[in-house]
Amino acid sequence: MSTKYGGYMGKVLKINVSTREVTEYPWSDEERRLFIGGKSMAAKILGDNLTSQTKPFSAENLLVITTGPLTGTGAPSSSRFNVSTLSPQTKIITSSNCGGNFGYYLKKAGLDGLVIEGRSETPLWLHIRNGEVVFNDAADMWGLKTGPAQKALDERLAAENGKPVKNGKLVIGPAGENQVLYSAIISNERVAGRGGTGAVMGWKNIKAITASGNQQVRVAEPEKMKALNKKWFKYLRSHPLTGDQLPRLGTAGLVSTMQMNGQLSTKNYNYGRYDDFELVNGETLAEKYNIVNKGCLTCPIKCARTVEVDGKPVKGPELETLGLLGGGILNNDLEAILKWNYELDELGMDTISTASTLAYAMEAREKGLWDNGLAFGETEDISKIWEDIAYRRGIGDELANGSRWLAEKYGGKEFAINAKGLELAAYEPRRAVGLGLGYAVSNRGGCHLNGGYMILLEGLSMNVDPQTPHGKPDMTVMFQDLMEMVSAAGQCLFTTYAFFPPPLISKPHAWYTRAFCKAVPVIGPVLRLLNKFPGMLCFNIPVVFNQSKALKYATGMPMNFGKFFKAGKRSYTLERHINTRFGIRRKDDSLPARLTDVPQIEGDEKTRVPLERMKTVYYHARGWTQDAVPTPRTLKKLGLAGLASYKETCEAFRRGEFQDKPAGRSAGAGKEGA
């Protein structure tokens, strides 16, 4: 199936690994226009195929790998791809966006995406070359860690072709093979970490996927695209965040800022400051261990660090890993974190969920709930714990199921730091309540990015009052929708930090920056209006927001800021509409009671997340019922009336199945909901 739009290869393959049948997945230009690509495209595919009865570990579950229309066009930071599936960890749909080069090579192979169903009887390596799929036996690779597995793939491709083959790779490690619920898919050094996509790939008996080819991405307006890209690269390189802080320090640079703001999760989120933070912060990493900065293909930001572990250059840890495996478990040994980060990547496990699950287990033992031998600050045998988790041995077999599962078994839900089963990142939301809302309502579970990343304004880059709930729900909706579409277009979310004009970031004490920060909590109604009527924004925003123009030049679709924004809304609501099928309601948009009921600073009631009142405003701004269900009116307004499930939803609303009020008290309602 071809396409009239540029930016796309016009072909999506459906691969049944049970029958080894390969067919073209029907994906129309109308769907391209509505869902653009990436996670949004994947959500539509999952929504069309999954029923409420589908189980994560079943032949019916799909592993959907998609690219966006900007991938392969030379747009900055656009070599990405997305993996979506029904998550075994959260039991709702998950999406994981990954850098590296696989997205670029999938397009070189002539494809916009892969839809994988079934389960192979034997270990499999899928090689996609110029649109053709080769099913290779991977029995000899099964059991390999992710580094050796990727090396083996290069060697086999070189042996088959008589020379090295440029390719993009996806592999799982032992964790994915053993269905650790938070196992990841690894691509070079980059990781599709969240939601357990690696476990689904492992269950399907797929060890690896490689892509290669010589196809070219056709751009609708190549000259304009080229000129825009040139300006865009220049702008990103000049911005204080994307051109200075991230290249110099990577995400690790946030540790110190979070510490100062009381936002650094410490001892399983008991506290927001870690006394030894200077031993495990980004500055120390850069000064003592960083060898070289790296970036993904076409990325001017170059946020990745390379460090040395046992004399070998390996990927350095991100902020989340530093925070959660540092203060999170009261560990001040940075060298140990570097080593663990490498080990977890080799085993193919999400560092956030692994670390947070470990912290829960340490606290459960401290409270006498689970005698597991783990303790805060005692980290000598941690490497063995990783192996035990990956191979599901001993207590590792239980740790492999994540903090939600453990809390259901041993108790302590109030300190199992997850939302909808997905563990939170290292940002402590009691000192950034907008982020707290984002964590709770995020479609994929406790994710700072899918949650809208309000903390950027709440102390990291700007000084919007982190404790006020005012204006935050509307701002969260706006950020979520924009980030949703940046991701769907195939671009790295880090480019969104440049939405804020440089003076707002580099001059925090200037009158205009202070005025902006003061204004955010009081402009909620204005933002609500824009959220309700994105079509009003029928223009492009020059210099700082290039995404809409880039999509227009790449695809030839009519596109402006408002249409881009609306597409993000459509995608976010679609994901929620699908999750509704799996039972997600207001009560599930929750946080552990530690974060909503216990002030971080004793006696200061403001230092907890006032979640319920923010949720009420948030659902209203979204056009969902107060029980967090998108209404037929909202679905229709967003162009989702064509969904097969739309009629069912209308009928369910007519039958009164979905009420415009909460169906049950939120788990995190606590004091404020009482």
Binding site: Q245, C303, A425, P508
Partner: protein
């Protein structure tokens, strides 16, 4: 005597980490840093200030034993 610490990209740019100095205000501390590092005072003036764990201003006063932290803005996780 106050303790002055620098975090963020400006620390890597200047190579400056920490020093003990006599400074009665944040602005004076910024001037000291500019002299010590050879960098423009404006660069320090545009940092975020934290005095003993609480947000400060360029005009904030410093007292004996205070810890002043300067951070350049950050984002991206």
């Amino acid at each position: 005597m106050v303790t002055i610490k620098l975090f963020g990209s400006l620390r890597l740019k200047t190579g400056f980490k920490e020093m003990q100095a006599y400074a009665s205000s944040v602005s004076e501390a910024c001037a000291l840093l500019a002299r010590a590092t050879g960098h423009d005072k404006k660069e320090f003036k545009n940092c975020l200030f934290v005095i003993n764990g609480k947000q400060g201003k360029y005009s904030s006063a410093l007292a004996e034993g205070d810890e002043l932290v300067l951070m350049s803005p950050s984002g991206g996780g």
